[in-house]
């Protein structure tokens, strides 16, 4: 089965850059490594690729305790021990105790799949190195049963990273790399329209002005990201906030900011701004 070209989907806006990178990785059969600020839709990308190409998506969520072996297969020795002690099973066939991991599942699938290895940087430093061979050769060996598992179709592998740890060079050499930029305002309007199609232009405009203003401020510990803007826009509509208040007071700030100190920064900036405004107004009255 020939995998077609990825063109994006109706509910995920993809930049031309990113679309090209995805297609390069699909054509060359190499994993695509995605980095970018939190909230720029790294995980959503894999979903969108799967949906756009009509393929099944397999997600392997990486945690700090995940080992490369977990993704291949697990040999359930405890179950075998139980079975042998109670004697109601034939335990001589080890293969019934071999459980496939996410990578193994992707290899054995009858149709091509999209495999998302999410937040690979969470795992141990050696984790990516342990997967080199498997991702290169698309096969692995199970010594317990003497079976080699080979991918029926090369899965489309998408890997995301939050740059918490540096990834090993040998691993990077085998990947196609893409860095998702923070969306420009025009792109952001498209993204908002996709998620909340029936909003007034004025509301979006006001909210965007306030949002990008906040992002330009120095000294924030965590800048608000796309997903927070989407929540905020929704909160503004539900809360029925009047339009002229949005930029002046930034209501429902808690949706955008998650740190106490950031709150103080914004509030003090708003306060100085409004006093400045009244000052200039009084000046003009005198002048």
């Amino acid at each position: 089965m020939e995998v077609q070209e990825f063109k994006g989907t109706a509910n995920y806006i993809v930049s031309e850059d990113l679309r090209n990178s995805v297609n390069v990785s699909i054509t060359l059969g190499r994993p695509l490594l995605i980095k970018g600020e939190p909230g720029t839709g790294k995980t959503m990308l894999a979903r969108s690729i799967a949906e756009g190409l009509g393929l099944k998506l397999i997600i392997w969520n990486i945690k700090s305790t995940t080992k490369a072996q977990d993704g291949l297969y697990v040999y359930d020795t405890v179950q075998r021990l139980y079975d042998s002690q109670f004697g109601d099973h034939d335990v001589s066939d080890i293969s019934q105790y071999i459980k496939m991991g996410k990578l193994g599942e992707a290899f054995l699938s009858d149709n091509p799949v999209v495999l998302l290895i999410d937040e690979i940087d969470k795992a141990d430093l050696e984790f990516p190195n342990d997967l080199l061979w498997e991702l290169d050769m698309m096969s692995f060996y199970i010594p317990e049963t003497g079976v080699t598992v080979t991918a029926k179709h090369r899965p489309i592998v998408i890997i995301t990273s939050n740059a918490e740890k540096e990834l090993p060079d040998a691993f990077l050499r085998r990947c196609i790399f893409h860095y998702i930029n923070f969306p420009e305002p025009e792109m952001m309007v498209n993204i908002i329209n996709v998620h909340h199609p029936h909003l007034e232009d004025k509301l979006i405009h006001e909210a965007m002005e306030a949002f990008y203003w906040i992002r330009t401020l120095n000294g924030l510990q965590k800048k608000p990201s796309t997903s927070e803007l989407l929540d905020w826009v929704q909160a503004l509509t539900v809360g029925g906030v009047s339009l002229d208040k949005i930029r002046r007071e930034i209501p429902l700030l808690g949706v955008l900011l998650k740190k106490n100190q950031d709150f103080d920064v914004i509030l003090s900036r708003l306060r100085t701004q409004s006093t400045n405004k009244t000052k200039t107004r009084s000046h003009s009255l005198w002048g």
Binding site: E16, D17, N20, S21, N23, V24, S25, T27, L28, R30, L33, K35, T77, V78, R80, L81, S84, Q85, L125, A163, E164, K165, E166, D169, L172, R173, R174, C175, I176, F177, H178, Y179, N181, G219, Q221
Partner: protein, 400 residues
Amino acid sequence: MFVNFFYELKRTGVPVSLTEWMTLMEALSKGLAFSSLSGFYHVARAVLVKSETHFDSYDIAFQNYFKGIETPVDVVEQALEWLKNEIPPLMISPEERKMFQDWDLDKLRRELEERLKNQDGEHHGGSNWIGTGGTSRFGHGGYNPAGVRIGGQSLNRSAVKVAAERRYRGYRSDETLGVRQFEVALRKLRQLTSRDEGLKDELDLDGTIDATCKNAGRLELVWDRSRKNNMKVVLMMDSGGSMDPYIDLCSQLFTAVNRSTHFKDLKFYFFHNCFYDDLYLHPSCTSRSAIKTYDVLHNLNPEYRLIIVGDASMAPSELTMVGGAIDWDVMNNEPGLVWLERVVKHFKHAVWLNPVPSQWWDVHRYYGAYTINLVRKLFPMFELTLDGLELAIKRLKVKF
């Protein structure tokens, strides 16, 4: 093909390998660059560059290599080259505007192609040829309500121009940085705790089960080394005076270090310019928060990793003279250099992070460079940037 581009990349500091280069050749042979320069720009970057910190270097290399190269570019790209050198926007009167009111797009396109054929170079400020600032129907920065806009906000920008914008400058790792990046860098100190030292005092559950099963059900315990971090860190920060311009940077580092919970122990001390008999527990460096430097050295064993943050820029007397301390109520019986040497000898691992950029460490460029160089003789000194911090952490791992 483009072999020199490979070397240009190496020269500007992008770590490309032959494997990646062969991958790029494969991509090109499969037509992934769509035979255009901007296509090539994106494909080559996706395949060759593996970190956003190198995007800027890539842009520079790309600019150097492809600048002025004759490529069979499409209409727009060539026109863009001509538009590069702009003149200020032109205003137009309402009478003149009337002239442009009737036009049709197809005719305009044909005209554009024709003019491209006849025009042989850049042209600015006229009314006919493609250029900027004029009233020709083709170009940008000019005014023609019935014209074709080329460049500016258009999506079809030439790759060289995109590269010339250097949009990824902000991601360079030798630029100064934020708290989170500091934290990420500091986590590397965790690597120091190896798993081959220490007692095997933790029950390895999986190992025990495996061994027991292999043992046909007879219990066999497997022990493993616990994976706690043994790293102990002491941070001494210069506070006040010449450090004021770097307060933001230092407080970011301070927050990052403070948040790094993975150290076994973490101590903070402050000093002003140089330390003598006393160190301080509070950045204000008042006598109320003073603590004897000797006591500190006694309490902290040499296994502590010492990180000093300071600009090392002061009057030379503060380092070389008895009684040279900057604060009048501090009377030092030994010159600052003696104290620095005492501390560096006590801690086997010590580094000095300097917020002053390293190109200023030259005596001829910066007044404080004289003392910087005195301190550098004792401490390995690094710039307070992400790259500098990483080098410093590497240095903390080796004994000297």
